[in-house]
Symmetry: C2
Subunit: 310 residues, 2 copies
């Protein structure tokens, strides 16, 4: 088998496994939600490839959510050239992206993404991550989330968790608010055999493991506080926090910004937007309130694992 | 009187006139609203200057609005150097910015800004504009708005309206939606004696005339359709359009983006955010609906003056 066709086979394998990952996650999320079902929207891209955007709304757990798969290819655009420090004429990119906005203020917003990028069959990398945005930060629950991620990371490389956790702290940061988006998680980009101890197939396996663990990790977070009653003030706080989510995604998120200016599919990119949001001038929670405690915990560099119940 | 002190006197005059403009506009808007009053919030900037941010909410007409004055100065920052094609070590900037989000879907969102920028007493320019974002575009009402702006422009330069109207069409454009933000208005930047027929004092006078005409122009638009009843579907459409306003401001508006990354005062910059907003995956109004007609009119290059009732 020639080197070129092997790489092509690998590309197809990755695409297929991401496509299956989308199906698996949607099916699991429907089981968790027990009320709403996903609607599927297929689209194609003028210059090559396309995607399937699955959306859910009005559920028992999920107020608005999306699980998007895409596989696109074609000539490298000018925008890509200016953003990527690599040469090449043709690219291939495939990935799965998820954002779920829950009904209850006591259930966190979650985001997951795994992606693969390849250029002219010579250069490739994987990227992705999972991060959690609780409207109210409960350190013990954040610890459970981080511990789940650490276990997956440790299975592949004992240095991944610390590195990717710090990367998430830096990436999911709302500079103009001096707040992290939530309690972080893991984030990685441009990883390949060259800069890790892993073979390409092992990195794919790591991404798929993350993806296939996603629903279980999230379901745990859902059930931790789903039964808590919600007051009017808490519902307002949820709207304000959703506004911050909008601010992060539109002002800081590189994927969103790059997608929107480079002619990506707007409706799939903005799948991450919340169902509703609210802005109020200079809204500052009262001292010692639960809301204020949450703001104090939206900081980089917190070692959430310290909060694990022994 | 030396040249330098004359320029300093002019700088003070501009600052003072903008400060008074803010007072005038807030007082007029309170008269129009007849229910809510502005709250005033003064702030100072670490590196020099400060501002007064006036906000109003829960009014009869205005659901959420802000009228901000600022006057800031200090060393030119790295971010400014990379954005401005001019040399200098010290800058001075003053301006008034307004965004009003009305209660009723039948009353348009409006934005107004006038600003003055000066560098090391050698280089200066004015910028500003007014643009209107109706949730439902009514061409005859858009014509009234544009005609009001044209009359002011024509008083100063017969070429201003056409030039600044086209500039607004280009500026207030949501590229990733292929929609204009609303029906435009006028927009201008970097204007000075060098590139207009006007003396510096006349350009200031033009900016002040725009500012002092603002409330009358807006009040006319308010009263045109204030009495129309609002259905649930229309209220939802308003939330969706507010979402587009958020998208424009956070993704495309140069002033907002520059302010947020350069360490501007976040709460004053994001005064433009709506009170609430909504996103729904791939929301497409039904053919022949009023909502669809509005989308068809969110295009560049429409000569609104053609719709004036003769």
């Amino acid at each position: 088998m020639s080197n070129a066709s092997w790489k092509n086979e690998m590309k197809n394998k990755i695409e297929e496994s991401f496509r299956n990952l989308q199906k698996f996650i949607c099916s699991e999320l429907e089981n968790i939600d027990q009320k709403s079902l996903f609607k599927s929207d297929s689209w194609s891209r003028h210059d090559g490839g396309g995607g399937i955007t699955n959306t859910i709304s009005g559920g028992r757990i999920i107020e608005k959510g999306g699980v998007a798969f895409s596989s696109v290819y074609g000539p490298v655009t000018e925008e890509m050239k200016s953003q990527l420090a690599t040469k090449g004429n043709e690219f291939f990119a495939t990935g799965v992206s998820i954002v779920l906005h829950p009904q209850s203020v006591h259930v966190p917003i979650i985001h997951m993404n795994v992606r693969y990028f390849q250029m002219d069959q010579d250069v490739y990398w994987f990227g992705g991550g999972i991060d959690l945005t609780p409207h109210y930060v409960v350190p013990e629950n954040a610890a459970i989330f981080h511990n789940d991620l650490k276990k997956i990371c440790d299975h592949y490389n004992s240095g991944f968790y610390d590195k990717f956790k710090a990367w998430a702290d830096d990436y999911f940061f709302i500079g103009h608010r001096n707040e992290t988006r939530g309690i972080g998680g893991i984030f990685f980009d441009h990883i390949s055999h060259e800069n890790t101890s892993l073979q390409k197939e092992e990195i794919l396996d790591f991404c798929l493991m993350l993806g296939r663990s996603f629903t279980e990790i999230y379901n745990k977070q859902v059930n931790l506080r789903l039964d808590q009653p919600v007051t009017e003030d808490q519902r307002k706080w949820q709207q304000i926090r959703r506004g911050r989510y909008v601010e992060f995604n539109l002002v800081h998120d590189r994927g969103t910004k790059f997608g929107l200016v480079s002619g990506g599919r707007t409706e799939s990119i903005l799948l991450s937007m919340p169902p509703t949001s609210m802005w109020e001038y200079n809204f500052i929670p009262t001292v010692d309130s639960e809301e204020h405690k949450t703001l104090d915990l939206l900081k980089k560099g917190i070692n959430w694992l310290e909060f694990i119940d022994k």
